[in-house]
């Protein structure tokens, strides 16, 4: 479980995260949605430690991530996987080497055990016969899947996905959604997905946070969306614009 308490972040005089409070539970797809500039990417970057907020707490279980000492923070980070918007695969490494990388760095696996784990992760994301291909040789959808496989290579407790469907066709987007939800439920991990894709929101959004002008504007589930849209013009405008 991840708990965010009174999180604030400024860029110069722009208040990009305005006193955010939220809870992200394991086993469900936690979605952060909102228009560009709404603060959702900044929120995720603060949560994984790529940006440092000016005030507030980010609790992973009982550990305050911001206040952790360097080595303990690095240890906690090995429990975190992230799928980046542009996948961020290491382009000089093959698919297999990309997925193997966190295992080489943080596990004591033998080469055979590492290969087994790589194949297990590739199987989870439904990819076969791509071990020796380089990221430049595979499609966008496959890159996303490799990104997910790399993120889950270690036995992680937290998974962050920044725009997992960006640049993908609707069919591949649905496959990625199903994969993310399946992995979240199977391994009971806390998954936070930052998305623009309204189909994703409706399909898998068990817990949704709508960000607007740096604030948590609305929180609920996909079942509550129709009512919420009637009561919340900003949310409604965002949905209408998205479709």
């Amino acid at each position: 479980m991840i708990t965010i308490q009174n999180l604030n972040k400024w860029f110069d005089d722009k208040h990009v995260l305005d006193n955010i409070n939220a809870e992200f539970k394991p086993g469900v797809a936690n979605l952060v949605i909102g228009a560009s500039g709404g603060g959702k990417s900044v929120l995720i970057k603060c949560m994984v430690g790529l940006l440092t907020p000016e005030s507030g707490k980010i609790l992973y279980g009982n550990q305050d991530f911001i206040g952790l000492e360097y080595h303990r923070k690095q240890n906690l980070r090995s429990e975190i996987g992230m799928l980046f918007q542009n996948t961020a695969l290491f382009d000089s490494l093959t698919v297999q080497e990309n997925i193997e990388f966190p295992l080489r760095m943080f596990s004591k696996f033998t080469p055979e055990e590492r290969l087994d784990r790589v194949n297990f992760c590739l199987e989870k994301v439904q990819l076969v016969n791509v071990n020796n291909k380089y990221p430049a040789e595979i499609s966008g959808g496959m890159k996303k899947r490799v990104g997910i496989a790399r993120a889950i290579a270690l036995e992680i407790n937290y998974l962050f996905c920044d725009e997992p469907n960006s640049g993908l066709d609707p069919l591949t987007s649905r496959i990625i959604d199903k994969l993310l939800l399946g992995i979240t439920q199977e391994f009971n991990i806390t998954t936070v997905i930052n998305s623009h894709d309204m189909k994703t929101v409706i399909d898998i959004g068990e817990h949704i946070i709508f960000m607007f002008k740096g604030q948590k504007w609305w929180e609920g589930s996909n079942h509550e969306l129709p009512n919420a849209r009637r009561e919340n013009p900003e949310l409604d405008a965002f949905f209408k614009a998205s479709f």
Binding site: V48, G49, L50, K73, Q74, N75, L76, R77, S78, I80, G81, M82, F84, Q85, N86, A88, L89, F90, D91, F101, P102, R104, M105, F106, F160
Partner: protein
């Protein structure tokens, strides 16, 4: 003020770079690969530049010192002086400084654009999220590889400078190769070797660390990655020339 903030940022960057690597086996594998890229891949350009610079320096020095002049009777000039000039300047300046200025263009631009590209494509962020000290992971192997391989390249360059001069002597009648060798040996001091090696280690550090620093703080896209390479080379050249002066003053001030 801008310079001060850059120095501050560089110091902070180095504070992260100069930490114990996460996993020594991965670190040394990466370092050996970098040694190959920095050392072996640069060998051809170093050989070509050193050979031709040596030959040209010998011919031009001979031409200047042995051409008829009203100020100085050239018949009084011992020919081994040319060897002394070429040998000393090779050891003190041409091998370390000229070679490193060339390597700034080759290695420096390469490192800056490689790390810059990793930065803009979020690969650096991916290391960070995994709990890897990205500054250390991508930079330290390059610095270590540079500090080991660039002095080796400079030693090779020094031999080839003299070899180029030697072959130039064989092609002309104004100077014999034994004059060149005799002159170079006559004025050789172990101190010159110390200066050359000191310069090569410091320049190697400048080339690898400054280019990595420039790449690591790249923001934007392809255009900025290209700019990072150009800026890195410019800064490296300025720092090499500055430290060239400082080292000369420190070691050779009479």
């Amino acid at each position: 003020m801008n310079l001060l903030s850059e120095i501050g940022r560089f110091t902070l960057f180095m504070k992260f770079v100069l930490r114990k690597p996460e996993k020594s086996k991965v670190f040394w594998t990466t370092t050996f690969r970098e040694m190959y890229l920095i050392g072996i891949d640069s060998l051809l350009i170093v050989i070509l530049i050193a050979f031709f610079t040596g030959a040209v320096t010998t011919i031009q020095t001979a031409s200047q010192l042995l051409s008829p002049s009203d100020l100085f009777p050239t018949q009084l000039m011992p020919k081994f002086v040319i060897g002394a000039v070429v040998g000393t300047s090779s050891l003190l300046e041409l091998a370390p400084t000229v070679t490193c200025l060339v390597l700034a263009g080759k290695i420096g631009a390469n490192i800056a654009s490689e790390i810059g590209n990793m930065k803009v494509s979020e690969q650096i962020d991916a290391y960070e999220v995994m709990g890897i000290n990205s500054a250390n992971f991508v930079t330290l192997p390059k610095i270590i590889a540079g500090i080991i391989m660039i002095p080796c390249l400079i030693i090779v360059a020094n031999f080839l400078l003299l070899f180029g001069g030697y072959l130039a002597c064989k092609m002309t009648t104004t100077l014999t190769s034994s004059d060149l060798i005799q002159g170079a040996r006559l004025v050789f001091k172990p101190l010159y070797l110390k200066v050359m090696l000191t310069k090569s280690v410091i320049f190697a550090f400048i080339i690898t660390s400054l280019s990595a620093f420039q790449g690591y703080y790249t923001t934007g896209g392809a255009l900025e990655v290209g700019e990072a390479g150009t800026k890195a080379v410019t800064k490296i050249c300025i720092f090499i020339l500055f430290f060239d002066l400082v080292i000369a003053q420190l070691f050779l001030k009479s």
